[in-house]
């Protein structure tokens, strides 16, 4: 039962796909990495519904026994009078109170409960579309007094095995200044080469007007060749629209399916969690990569930590020495990870 809802707490899952052509926006968790981690650690099916909390988390009392996991931003959670750690399974008992405060690091926290949040599935998803009052808990953000049901968790036996097998995962630390990788297009040709170079050189500041629909940015205006009004076409999670005044907006989970502003590029899906955890006054720098490189990085998560874009020629050299070295580094990292070694 929710005592205090926090700034914006909604039920979310992977999003509502398959109906974009009917004007149904996808919604879903802003930070997919934290969403997936929460379910993974608690032992839920991959896409079970969770609670997403923004800036300040909620206070709630549990009406039954279960297991919870917190991921994403650190909101200094406490279970009764004990600190509740993130990225680890926490058993809870009936009557215990979870209280969360202001995010110390990052913007959005995720709470997964064993069995998942049980709200009706609408068009294949339990995500809340607050603009259209669709899905989630009564189509809206949570309020004081709301009572949420959870689904039936996996069998006890399964749960016990999972506890032994899933290691505690390392909590993510969020930066105030991030770099995200972008593939140019589909209206990159609405901007001159110089304007695009500038866009990828400059640093932008997150505006307080940012929300689940878009991260609004302030900084050096991006100059277009003929204005930025286009005949509407499709928008993706990560599309970077340039407004009339030349300011970029990165479209996020609650983006409309279609729109009439020119899009200079699209943030790669694997860098979207960085944006989802930004707060007003944080900074973003966009880094241009080719679609080939973006797909390579999508398929090889271990390669994403590089700060410089890979040169395409390195990869296409086949099983070169460089390739061998990269594989070794990956194995080494995994060794430390599994054995809980620090970094």
């Amino acid at each position: 039962m929710v005592e205090m809802p926090g700034v914006l707490t909604t039920v979310q899952d992977q999003g509502r796909y398959g109906y974009m052509e009917y004007g149904v926006r996808t919604a879903g968790a802003m930070d997919m990495d934290s969403f997936l981690a929460a379910n993974r650690i608690v032992g839920n099916p991959e896409h079970a519904a969770v609670l997403e909390m923004t800036l300040m988390g909620m206070t709630a009392v549990f009406d039954g026994d279960g297991v919870i996991v917190l991921t994403g931003a650190d909101m200094k959670a406490r279970l009764d009078d004990m600190p509740a750690e993130r990225y680890v399974r926490i058993p809870v008992r009936s009557g215990q109170r979870l209280s969360m405060g202001m995010a110390q690091n990052g913007c959005r926290a995720y709470l997964a409960v064993s069995g998942g949040i049980d709200v009706p599935s609408v068009m294949g998803s339990r995500s809340t579309d607050v603009k259209c009052c669709l899905g989630g808990f009564q189509g809206r953000a949570l309020k004081a007094g709301d009572v949420l049901e959870t689904g039936k968790p996996e069998t006890r036996e399964h749960a016990e095995t999972e506890t032994a097998r899933i290691p505690k995962e390392r909590p993510v630390k969020y930066e105030h200044s991030v770099e995200v990788r972008v593939v140019e297009g589909p209206q990159a040709d609405w901007f001159s080469g110089e304007a695009r170079d500038q866009f990828f050189r400059e640093s932008y500041t997150v505006s307080a007007e940012s929300d689940r629909m878009g991260i609004r940015l302030n900084g050096a205006p991006v100059e277009s060749l003929h204005g930025t009004d286009i005949v509407s076409d499709g928008i993706a999670f990560g599309s970077i629209q340039i407004t009339k005044s030349g300011m970029p907006i990165v479209m996020m989970a609650d983006h409309q399916t279609t729109g009439g502003y020119a899009k200079i590029g699209t943030v790669c899906s694997f860098d979207l969690p960085k944006l989802a955890q930004l707060r007003p006054e944080d900074r973003v720098k966009f880094c241009r990569i080719s679609v080939e490189e973006a797909q390579y990085l999508y398929l090889h998560p271990e390669e994403r930590r590089r700060s410089k874009p890979l040169a395409l020629t390195m990869r296409t050299a086949g099983s070169s020495e460089a390739g061998e070295r990269r594989r070794y580094r990956f194995q080494k990292y995994n060794y430390y990870y599994r054995h809980g070694g620090g970094r």
Binding site: E21, T258, Y298
Partner: protein, 239 residues
Amino acid sequence: MKIYPVGEMSLSVDFGNVISEEVNDQVMCLQQSLQKACIPGILELLPTYRALLVRYDPAQLTYEQLSGRIEKAGAEGNREISTTKEKLVRLIPCCYGGAYGEDLKGMEALTGLSEKEIISIHSGTDYKIYMLGFLPGFVYLGGMDERIAAPRLDVPRVAIPAGSVGIGGSQTGVYPIASPGGWRLIGSTPVKFYDPAAEKPILCSAGEYIRFLPVSEQEYRDIEEDVRRGTYQTEVIRE
């Protein structure tokens, strides 16, 4: 036809920065070709006025591979446009004016036409659905007669009821769910353009046509009752 990447998981097939039947037909035709081709890795297709957004799985298809398949489907599809084009017209019952269309009376002064003439013009066109967007089930209609165009209200309404039929500038359409908006409301339809409880939650698809059918208040109420019971089916004409 130009293809652009939209990140690493989508791409856009663009036919030109215009609103035209010809361009939109190409978008719809490509959508149909790709649906028929059942290419593994293609997850979702989103047709808009002038482009088709294709969401795909990069683990199954590279950008280059998919672009190639699309170019092939585009070339084959173009031959089909002129040959097979069945027009599907959905009849939408609409009760015009009075309490059902509060702004219709005021449009007489704006257009220089009588209420009766406005209704006749509005219901006398088959409107092509260019795309859906903005809200679930919200249709972007083309072909409205310029004579009944009217600017949006200076002060938008905070809440327009679902089923409201309106005119905003040169555009006409229906509000599928309650929403704030500045369109002039000329009528209401009891038909649900969006119904989460229905097997097919969204009534219309891009590429179909809509024709408004003027009905009386009594007919409106009868249809409303049928809709509530789940027994109403919109009439569809195939030409």
